[in-house]
């Protein structure tokens, strides 16, 4: 196993950041710690790195108990949201830092740094200083710097959080490709569900200092164990007292056993997608997501009568929070 976290508890004064959290992160995978800010995910990452001490519990990295080890002995690579670039060192020296500390021979350092700078597409910028780089370039430099020491795990704390949307998207794809090449066990913290769903092999949803659910992106999206996970991973709407995704609603123009009669109150076209709001007899506002083709075929108009039901393969949760059609979380 890559990283094993056992019964970690961490308090800051009265605030409980992590409450008896246990977690296994498999070797060689890209795992996302996903959750709202203040939920404890960054604290967990920092505890794994040794930058924060847990009040109780243990951390095992690649089979070695690291709980009492100082950060410099854990062999982890850490990437900060705000890059933590060494401002007084050139890009080359930044990446070489860990190797210089390890007193590797000059030739070896040169070869390794050159290789890494090519990998992160910064070979042109070796002699520049961090202040002369864009945010995206600085973060790529920080990644190369962390990779240089061949860490057994890479820990990324909101690595793209400080970048604008376009660069964020590029770096996200790039991180995925990089991981497919390098295969180092990687954990990254994010509050962006789209980022987690798109990039990771496995997602751990953390909220209020506890793990809500662990699973692959599709497991989490399709079989959320509770309302929090369902809401956090994508849009939801109410239908007949259940939570359902707006694109998982079947529309029929004639009555149908088990379906909810309702009336269209609003239709909105957003590019390729059509958003319909319909009001049921129970006075619920149901949001429905359709493709343009579906909407045209049904000939929808405000005031029209519809019969709605959740599709057969939809993930549906009782609003009482108990799962209805959802499977249990992975162990």
């Amino acid at each position: 196993m890559g990283i094993d976290v056992h019964h970690i508890t961490k308090r800051f004064g009265d605030f409980v950041a992590l409450d008896d959290v246990s977690l296994s992160i498999p070797t060689g995978q890209l795992t996302a710690l996903l959750g709202p800010s203040g939920g404890g995910k960054s604290t967990l990452l920092r505890i794994i790195a040794g930058l924060e001490e847990p009040d109780s519990g243990t951390v095992t990295i690649e089979g070695v108990d690291a709980t009492a080890l100082a950060p410099q002995h854990r062999n982890v690579g850490f990437v900060f949201q705000h890059y933590a670039a060494f401002k007084h060192l050139s890009v080359y020296r930044n990446v070489a830092f860990g190797l210089e500390i390890r007193k590797r021979p000059k030739d070896e350092i040169r070869a390794r740094v050159t290789e890494l700078l090519e990998l992160v597409h910064l070979d042109q910028f070796a002699d520049r200083y961090p202040a002369q780089l864009s945010g995206g370039q600085r973060q790529r430099m920080a990644l190369a710097r962390a990779l240089a020491v061949e860490p057994s795990v890479m820990l990324l704390d909101e690595p793209f959080g400080a970048l604008d949307a376009q660069v964020r998207r590029e770096l996200r794809d790039w991180l995925r490709r990089l991981h497919d090449e390098v295969h180092v066990t990687t954990v990254f913290v994010t509050h962006d569900q789209e980022e987690a769903l798109e990039v990771s092999d496995e997602i751990v949803v953390i909220n209020n200092g506890a793990v809500e659910q662990t699973g692959t992106p599709s497991e989490l999206y399709d079989k959320p164990v509770n309302e929090f996970v369902m809401r956090f991973l994508g849009p939801v709407t109410h239908l007949g007292g259940h939570l359902v995704r707006p694109h998982d609603i079947d529309i029929s123009l004639s009555t149908d056993p088990g379906s909810h009669p309702s009336t269209i109150s609003r239709i909105q076209r957003v590019g390729f997608e059509v958003r319909v709001v319909a009001v049921t007899e129970r006075d619920e506002d149901v949001a429905i997501q359709l493709t343009r083709g579906q909407a045209d075929r049904l000939d929808l108009a405000v005031g029209r009568q519809l019969w709605l039901r959740a599709s057969n393969d939809a993930s549906v949760l009782d609003t009482g929070a108990a799962p209805v059609a959802a499977a249990a979380a992975r162990p």
Binding site: A49, G50, L51, A70, P71, Q72, R74, N75, V76, G77, F78, F80, H82, A84, A85, F86, K87, H88, F97, G98, I101, R102, A142, R145, A146, A148, V149
Partner: protein, 257 residues
């Protein structure tokens, strides 16, 4: 507004300091040269250099240490320590001198014990260093602390995760980041140590050729109507201070670009 500021600074700072330079050389270079050769003067140079040198080293080590402690750690009594740090600037140096005599003087707290073991503090170099260090204590720390605050802790943490121990992290990351603030603090502290008068005058005993520093020479020769010596010593003090400030301000912007 600008005129007011310039006039104010001129009257307060520029004109008096310039006058010192003017008066020093009013009879040409020869009397100045002669005054510099005087044994009392050369002894004062030596004493000033020794006291300043030792004090600046102590100030620097202490300043960096306490800055790291106050900025990087949270502990009970931290706010109190932070406030106490400014005490030397608030207390009159003469009071500092008297306080030192109360502790380290022959009839002081443990001055007697030290003296019976052959170690004289008051009316000797150790006491002068103590007095000088006391009065210039917070200067380095007050320059370094805001910079430490500003650079934050993440670069240091990054260095730790890359395998650097605390010593290596300090040498390779923290020190380069604070070097200009530190240099500025050292210069300020040096200027302060060179010019320290009040506290030193009390604890030194003003023994000619033994415990007299340049500021004491200025005062004493002025009292004795030996204006050439007084102006010469003043000129040297002012020139060193101005020269170090100029050097620092020339070096600093170059580094930043």
């Amino acid at each position: 507004m600008r005129v007011v500021v310039i006039a104010y600074l001129s009257l307060l700072l520029v004109i008096p300091v310039s006058l010192i330079f003017w008066r020093t050389f009013s009879n040409g270079v020869a009397p100045v040269w002669h005054a510099l050769q005087d044994p009392a003067m050369t002894s004062a140079f030596r004493v000033t250099a020794i006291v300043t040198g030792i004090s600046v080293v102590i100030d620097t080590v202490f300043g960096v240490g306490i800055s790291l402690l106050l900025v990087r750690y949270r502990f009970p009594g931290r706010a109190f320590l932070d406030a106490v740090l400014d005490l030397p600037l608030a207390i009159s140096p003469v009071v500092v001198g008297l306080a030192l005599i109360l502790v380290y003087g022959r009839y002081g707290w443990f001055g007697g014990w030290l003296e019976s073991h052959g170690f004289q503090v008051i009316f000797a170099l150790p006491g002068m260093v103590l007095a000088t260090v006391f009065t210039s204590l917070p200067l380095v720390a007050r320059e370094v602390m805001p910079v430490l605050e500003e650079i934050g802790i993440e670069q240091e943490q990054a260095a730790r995760t890359l395998g650097a121990g605390s010593g290596q992290t300090f040498r390779r990351i923290t020190l380069p980041a604070i070097r200009w603030a530190l240099a500025y603090g050292v210069v300020l502290s040096m200027a302060r140590c060179l010019g320290e008068y009040g506290a030193v005058s009390v604890v030194s005993g003003r023994l000619v050729n033994k415990t007299q520093t340049l500021p004491l020479v200025v005062d004493q020769s002025f009292q004795n109507y030996d204006v050439t010596t007084a102006y010469t010593a003043s000129f040297v003090l002012a020139a060193i201070a101005i020269a170090s400030l100029v050097v620092i301000s020339i070096l600093r912007p170059k580094e930043r670009a």
